[in-house]
């Protein structure tokens, strides 16, 4: 080790900051080197001087000033908090009032929208489920099983259906939309499929459209039967919501009701539109004619000044009925299905004011 290297390490000898090996080598060197010994002695004296420097005392005002500023800082921090919540006698009533106001507005909004929430919220998923569940049931019998086999499915539909009046009446917009959708979704594909199947089964020389008409003819028969049964049960007279409440056991029921009611309106074979001065007396007259002619399942509904009669009547009695109706008022006729002898036809008589 050279003297220059030793001088670089000597400051570390002051407080023993060097490793022991280094210390011993330096001590050995110092024994033989006078200049390095002098340098080390100067370092020691320097260290003593530094350590002997008098300490200064803090002025008494230092602590006072520091604490005054600290308390001021704390007060400012607290101030932000206080601005929000204090003074209590002002802020608490304001905040309480605001809470009450918010609660009241929330309650009011809920109350105002409650009927709509009840109508809207549960219906859509249930209707979809019911539609999905219904479609296969309708399809299966159409594939060639007898008419009687189809009846349970139709009956089930009718059990949830409101009276026909509700189907035909102009209902609130939202309900109408649901019905249209469900009718489009549920009825049309089933009908089309059924007609197509029947057309395939029909003799080759017949037109496919005739087969479809036959399908339409068959369906109202079943629908009316089901309707008559449902009337006995007084289910059809109750609104859809009431049916749902009464039943309450099957989840799909309340939501499925509007859909099902739209899915099974009886489609008449014959439609008469009659204009009379007084629709009500004319209807009463027509109703008595129907009963005279032995009509079955006579139903009467009044709406918007019109009266609608539906009934089933023997084909042979149609001509007599036509004549009797003409004597009551001005009659227009629309034939949906050509009558076949020996059977029943479904008729619909709409009596309008002149």
């Amino acid at each position: 080790m050279t003297c220059k290297e030793i001088e670089g390490l000597l400051p570390g000898m002051i407080d023993g900051a060097l490793p022991d090996v280094e210390m011993k080598r330096i001590e050995t060197h110092l024994k033989t080197c006078a200049s390095c010994r002098k340098a080390f002695a100067d370092l020691r004296k320097c260290d003593e001087q530094v350590k002997s420097l008098e300490e200064v005392e803090p002025p008494p005002w230092l602590k006072t000033r520091v604490m005054a500023q600290v308390r001021e800082e704390a007060r400012q921090k607290e101030g932000i908090f206080r601005k929000l919540f204090f003074p209590l006698h002002v802020k608490v009533p304001i905040q309480a009032l605001a809470t009450v106001l918010i609660a009241f507005v929330a309650w009011n909004v809920y109350k105002t929208g409650e009927p709509e929430f009840r109508q809207m919220a549960p219906s859509s998923p249930a209707v979809q489920e019911a539609t999905r569940a219904q479609a296969p049931r309708e399809l299966a019998p159409a594939a060639g099983i007898s008419k009687r086999d189809e009846i349970p499915a139709t009956r089930e539909k009718k059990a949830f259906a409101p009276p026909p009046a509700q189907v035909q009446e102009p209902a609130p917009q939202r309900a109408a939309t649901v019905r249209e959708e469900t009718t489009a979704d549920a009825e049309k594909p089933v009908e089309r499929l059924r007609a197509a199947k029947r057309a395939a089964e029909a003799p080759k020389d017949e037109n496919a459209w005739n087969a479809a008409d036959a399908a339409r003819t068959a369906e109202p028969d079943r629908a009316l039967e089901a309707q008559a049964r449902d009337k006995k049960q007084k289910v059809v007279k109750a609104p859809a919501g009431a049916v749902a409440k009464e039943a309450g056991k099957q989840e799909a029921r309340p939501a499925a009701a509007p859909m099902l009611s739209a899915a099974a309106p009886p489609r008449p074979d014959l439609e008469f539109t009659m204009r009379a001065r007084g629709p009500e007396p004319a209807a009463a007259e027509a109703e008595s004619v129907l009963s005279q002619l032995g009509a079955q399942a006579v139903d009467r509904q009044s709406r918007e000044g019109r009266v609608i009669l539906t009934a089933r009547i023997r084909t042979e009695q149609i001509e007599v009925l036509r004549e009797k109706l003409k004597s009551i008022g001005l009659v227009q006729e629309r034939v949906q299905v050509s009558p076949s002898p020996g059977g029943f036809l479904t008729i619909r008589i709409e009596i309008r004011p002149e």
Binding site: G12, L62, V66, Q69
Partner: protein
């Protein structure tokens, strides 16, 4: 006085009791002032720096996580404040009125003529004062980073570990800076004092 007392006071401050900070001020103000005074060489300025450091510490006391001793954290703040003050007022300090232990007044002998002759003790005191002033002057000639380490280690007696914590430096850097500071101070004092007392 232990570091536990510091921790208790710090916790109280963190809970929102500013009065507890007075304990910390009481405990550390003298040492902090001496660190600042030796770094700056001006008593009034050192007092300002200590005050500034205490306020900075109070503002940041919620961020103190007890990873190191509170004293280490606090002295780190005061060293930092003093360092900033030196940087800001470098020119001003050089040209403004001299510090309390400025040796210039002693060099021209004016101070000795003003002082009453009160016997040997006064002379001894003046001699001591003169030596101290020259030591302080030499300390001020050191590079700021060397000066910090010398003050903290040789004057205040902090350990290398504590100094490393305050200055955020590894031990090796602290030691090398300290050795250079001691060597430079020795050279300065040999030159200033001539015959070593």
């Amino acid at each position: 006085m232990t570091d536990d007392e510091d921790v208790k006071a710090v916790l109280l401050c963190q809970k929102g009791e500013p009065d507890a900070f007075e304990i910390l001020v009481e405990r550390h103000q003298k040492r902090m002032l001496n660190v600042a005074y030796r770094m700056l060489g001006d008593y009034e300025e050192a007092c300002d720096v200590v005050q500034e450091a205490f306020i900075a510490a109070y503002r940041a006391i919620h961020s103190f996580r007890r990873e190191a001793a509170f004293s280490t954290w606090l002295y780190g703040i005061v060293v930092n404040c003093a360092r900033n003050r030196i940087k800001q007022a470098k020119g001003r300090l050089r040209h403004e009125a001299r510090s309390i232990d400025d040796p210039v007044g002693l060099q021209d002998g004016s101070l000795q003529s003003e002082l009453p002759d009160c016997g040997e003790s006064v002379v001894e005191r003046l001699e001591k004062k003169e030596v101290e002033a020259r030591v302080q002057a030499c300390i001020r000639t050191l590079e700021p980073d060397q000066r910090e380490v010398l003050i903290l280690r040789d004057i205040q007696g902090f350990s290398y570990e504590e100094i490393g914590g305050m200055l955020k430096l590894p031990d090796g850097t602290v030691k090398s800076r300290l050795f250079r500071a001691r060597a430079a101070l020795k050279d300065c004092l040999v030159n200033v004092l001539g015959d070593w007392p």
